[in-house]
């Protein structure tokens, strides 16, 4: 191989696995033929290992309570008046969410604190969680309109006054079951239900197919908001608000599912990419 000597920067990047495959092969070929360089690279790797073994014990130390307490402390009030009003607003939302979901929230095993956190993020996210828990266990009537009916998207779009796209999540292993119209605090909202695709031949006797729901509504506030994540009991929720674009108004989304966070995130990102208001 007629490669020039790799410089130290390249050798160092090789240790860190930061080289593209062809450069990596070149460096490896070089190191096989140049034992001095190979020895240097080994020494650097050994130093990195020693660094880790010198500092890793910190990971096993008990976390000082002062730090844990910092994490749980409420935000210091900048102005007591503002803080109080914020708290009152969050409480009002919580009470509202609680009233809507009363009798239904028993399905969700979140602590009261988790409930308050959900409510403070906006009552609609709480309603999305409740709607999920109500309809997901339905065996015979999980949806109002089945996915196959082509008017589903048009119907929901017309009623919600925001574009409702039937997101394609097959790449992520989920297929659309259908959708339904739901009452929200200030108007209609929609729920799209998706179900894990069972591979042919797999035991379809599984009584509880894995399902996620997408809750859509016209948001109270047109301000776009980035992805937020909440966990309530076994339910994970990703929610965000897409801003106004040339051809559509702002839309609030909540993705709900009893899935690991990373799996749910992959679905949320697929929905985000397919958003009709995005160019």
């Amino acid at each position: 191989m007629n490669t020039a000597a790799p410089d130290d920067t390249l050798l160092s990047a090789w240790i860190d696995g930061e080289l593209p495959p062809e450069r990596r092969a070149e460096v490896e070929a070089w190191l096989r033929e140049h034992p001095d360089d190979a020895a240097r690279v080994r020494a650097w790797s050994a130093d990195a290992r020693s660094l880790r073994s010198a500092l890793d014990p910190v990971l096993d130390e008990a976390v000082p309570t002062a730090l844990t307490q910092t994490v749980w402390r409420k935000a210091p009030a900048v102005l007591p008046d503002v803080a109080w009003r914020r708290w009152a607003a969050a409480l009002a939302l919580f009470v509202l969410g609680g009233a809507v979901g009363a009798g239904l929230t028993w399905r969700m095993q979140g602590s009261p604190a988790a409930g308050a956190a959900l409510a403070s993020s906006g009552g609609w996210v709480q309603r999305a969680a409740v709607a999920h828990s109500v309809y997901v266990p339905e065996v015979r009537h999980p949806v109002e309109v089945k996915a196959q009916e082509e008017h589903l998207s048009r119907w929901l779009t017309r009623r919600l006054d925001v574009p409702v796209k039937l997101f394609d999540l097959r790449e992520q292993g989920f297929e659309l079951v259908g959708g339904r119209l739901l009452p929200d605090a200030s108007g209609p909202s929609a729920q799209l239900m998706y179900q894990a695709i069972t591979p042919p031949g797999a035991a379809s006797a599984a009584a509880k197919p894995e399902r996620v729901t997408v809750y859509l509504r016209k948001p109270d506030d047109a301000t776009p908001a980035s992805f937020r994540y909440e966990q309530q009991g076994e339910l994970g929720l990703f929610y965000w608000v897409e801003g106004k674009s040339a051809n559509s108004g702002p839309t609030g989304y909540a993705l709900v599912g009893a899935l690991p966070r990373d799996k749910l995130l992959a679905l949320a990102e697929a929905i985000y990419r397919q958003d009709p208001s995005r160019p």
Binding site: A13, D16, L51, D56, T68, F227
Partner: protein, 176 residues
């Protein structure tokens, strides 16, 4: 709005890693925990800026890095003494099972690298961040990360080999 419970739980999860990172920067356990405390407070105050698609560890390490730099700037105005000058090797207690002599040399040598090199090396080898993540934390180009890591490796090895490539810390008055 106050930070939600789920965010606080995520923060709790990264505390051990933040403590290790802080310890590798300032060595003294109490000063390191003070740095972690500042980072946690800032993270809570800005929780709404955290995009859940990002890695919370990288985000909080960025905050800790910025807090450390702020702290240094404050100290730099008061005196030109590097925080690591006051480093007491006995303060960090290495695991008994490994070669303590080597570890003390190593930590000492680490303290004698320039801050720029030390941070890049620690983020990549200790925290095992990718060059891209490291660049994000330090707000420098990836190419700069690459050269700083490589120069740090060479300097550290030279120090451990007894080839003192660096001026002793007493004369190292560099303030970034």
């Amino acid at each position: 709005m106050d930070a939600p419970t789920s965010f606080r739980q995520q923060l709790l999860g990264v505390i051990p890693r933040l403590r290790r990172y802080a310890r590798s920067l300032v060595f003294d356990p109490h000063a390191a925990d003070d740095l972690v405390q500042t980072a946690l407070e800032r993270a809570l105050a800005h929780w709404h800026q955290f995009d859940q698609r990002r890695d919370i560890l990288v985000w909080t390490i960025s905050i800790a890095h910025n807090a450390y730099m702020d702290d240094r700037r404050r100290h730099a105005r008061a005196s030109l003494v590097e925080p690591s000058d006051g480093f007491d090797p006995d303060a960090s207690q290495p695991a008994a099972s490994t070669d303590i002599g080597l570890q003390l040399d190593l930590v000492k040598a680490l303290g004698r690298l320039s801050l720029e090199q030390r941070e890049a090396l620690l983020l990549v080898t200790l925290e095992q961040l990718s060059y891209a993540e490291c660049a994000e934390v330090l707000r420098i180009p990836i190419g700069t990360v690459m050269s700083r890591v490589s120069r740090a490796r060479i300097a550290l090895r030279a120090l451990l080999d007894g080839k003192d490539a660096m001026p002793p810390p007493g004369t190292l008055r560099r303030v970034v």
